[in-house]
Symmetry: C2
Subunit: 383 residues, 2 copies
């Protein structure tokens, strides 16, 4: 039985990961669960999975811990998270949202053998540092994100042949909730419209990122960093049905594609069971007619995707800046402090004013993250 | 430079194979070309590729050989084909149509290192004998057929992992020229309607076989015999666009699919260049919207597919019978001697009257092939 810790167990990925474990009980033992503040969910999960350890990061919820099953060790606050990160596991699921995942992720690397990574921000802002640590401690980092996981699945077959013959990698994008909106209507778009994703049920922030395609920009960066594929070989296709996740075009133009229903438990299960495959689901329904469409993406329609990809190629601190700005802007939008269009404006503004510099240490990442959060708040408080 | 012989160079596959070689001149030297009777095409090819040997099987065309470039050795008639088959090559393309491919194929196995096989009939009727010979002489047999080639491409990556995790193989069928016909209209269907394939340009016989889906039944048998996949794990999907050729569903319901434009030069090129990939083409056009559809297949609409698959499971002489009957019936249909619906009736009739017996030797294959041809002619001459 493999010991598993889940960082971010109350979120969408955390819940799906626990469902995979629930259906594969003989293979895994949950030994740690960590949430930011959703203690109700944590308690229900703790009662079912009886982990030895739980962690609650937000101090305002500490008073409720009396409801937890006894014998469970409770870690609290940021210091608690620090200690919780030093618990040894066989596999850990990293599903804390946003850049706040980066610190516990880095702390935890020496204490595990495999990390199933859902968090994109740590790769987008700090992949160099993350992969260096992973290499140092011989830790596997497997992507959970469906598009990246699809490529990982291919490369698990024969990375050398596929990389040597690679012409292009396509990752797909549903186009999110606003694909059919005109740009001029984006000023008036409502929160509930933005959060109506056509195919995936996910957390709020990522759903907003899917509407702006910032999320897809992050995934292109993940593909680049996970597999060492140059940016000019990575392309995005609009695929409204979210069933084909990635396509590899080889030198002779043969394409191999990875398909599965829009169910995150499939890539999570692969990352947990690898090299085995186990997840009991209905699969693709070929008993009825299925249609897939693929369309080129319009940078005009999705200027933030273009912005993110431009930033990626700079190899400076710009991705840290843009990620921080995006996190803050979405927080403001979801709190109804700004309009949807201000997310675009904030990112464009920050990209125009940030002082470009190389990230030399991990401290630089945190410094520029902080800097950009403050600057974004100043900007958004003005608009 | 690899020495290449093409058996059936005047047909669709033969011409495509020569075009692949034309575009990859530094890798291949054509040393032999063989046709049944299309000497005009052979002479043009011989002038361009200057092979050391050519073969013309049909004796009625011998008088024209004076038009051939000198120094080219000419083999003639069935005995000539026998001798031509004993010329040594590095790679040979087997693209003779129908069961008449089987004899030269078997004769040639000891004299080559790799056979790029387009002929289905030899696998459908005699796979056991063919693969035994290939094993004995350590000869690679690579399928050219797009669906089988797609699976071959996957298994080239990691056959063991894929086979161990295989849940289902889907091969696709365009549905042929008559997909949208009602069964009652099949009596009145014309030759030109049957020969109007929606996506592939191929020879006449295979185009008719695509309309009845006999061809798809043969491909299921090829998948079974090439890769040792049980029949219950092989399924057919209607995919009108002929761009996705095969899909492998793994244990966790993840599907990997192989896509390329409906251009036979892609699989031919892979079979010739393997393990390298080289074929200069435009590839899939993602600059415009592409739609793919997949539908289950109706055995009611395609009773001959059902018949072929039933025959396949019998493991007796029935596939030899049905193939012979199909070849004769199509010949009669294309000569306007019978109506299209009589192809169905002939196969159903032969399947109901043939004496079931195991094929113990390759001679049994030829015996039952002859028997069925005669019986089919008797039947068709009556209707």
């Amino acid at each position: 039985m493999k010991k598993v810790i889940i960082f971010g167990s109350s979120g969408s990925i955390g819940k799906n990961a626990l469902d995979v474990i629930r259906k594969s009980k003989n293979n895994f033992k949950v030994i740690g669960l960590c949430v930011y503040k959703d203690v109700e969910t944590l308690f229900a999960q703790a009662k079912e999975f009886l982990p030895e350890n739980v962690c609650i990061v937000d101090k305002t919820h500490f008073h409720k811990i009396k409801d937890l099953p006894k014998k469970i060790k409770v870690f609290m606050g940021k210091d608690g998270l620090n200690d919780f990160s030093k618990i040894s596991s066989d596999i850990s699921v990293m599903a804390i949202a946003g850049l706040s995942c980066l610190e516990p992720f880095l702390h935890h690397i020496p204490y595990t053998k495999r990390i199933a990574l859902a968090n994109k921000e740590s790769i987008v802002t700090a992949s160099r540092f993350v992969f260096k640590e992973a290499k140092k401690y011989n830790v596997e980092i497997f992507p959970i994100d469906s598009e990246i996981n699809a490529i990982f699945q291919f490369f698990s077959l024969d990375k050398k042949i596929l990389k040597n013959n690679l012409n292009k990698v396509y990752i797909t994008a549903s186009g999110g909730s606003l694909l059919n909106y005109r740009k001029k209507n984006l000023t008036s778009v409502k929160i509930k419209d933005v959060l109506s994703h056509p195919t995936w049920k996910m957390g709020k922030r990522i759903t907003v990122d899917c509407a702006t395609l910032v999320n897809k920009g992050f995934e292109v960066i993940e593909v680049h960093n996970f597999f060492g594929i140059p940016y000019e070989k990575i392309d995005v296709l609009i695929h409204r049905q979210s069933q084909v996740h990635a396509l590899l075009e080889l030198k002779d133009k043969t394409i191999i594609a990875c398909l599965y229903p829009a169910d995150m438990r499939i890539p999570i299960s692969y990352a947990l069971h690898y090299p085995e495959r186990f997840y009991n689901n209905d699969g693709m329904d070929f008993k009825n007619k299925i249609c897939f469409s693929f369309e080129p993406i319009s940078f005009k329609k999705f200027p933030l995707l273009k912005l993110i990809l431009e930033a990626a190629k700079r190899e400076d601190n710009s991705l840290v800046i843009l990620n921080a700005c995006d996190e803050i802007s979405i927080e403001y939008f979801l709190k109804k402090k700004i309009k949807f269009i201000h997310i675009y404006k904030a990112l464009e503004y920050m990209f125009s004013i940030y002082p470009s510099t190389r990230l030399k240490t991990i401290e630089d990442v945190f410094y520029w993250d902080n800097w950009a959060r403050e600057k974004t708040k100043e900007y958004l408080d003005r608009v």
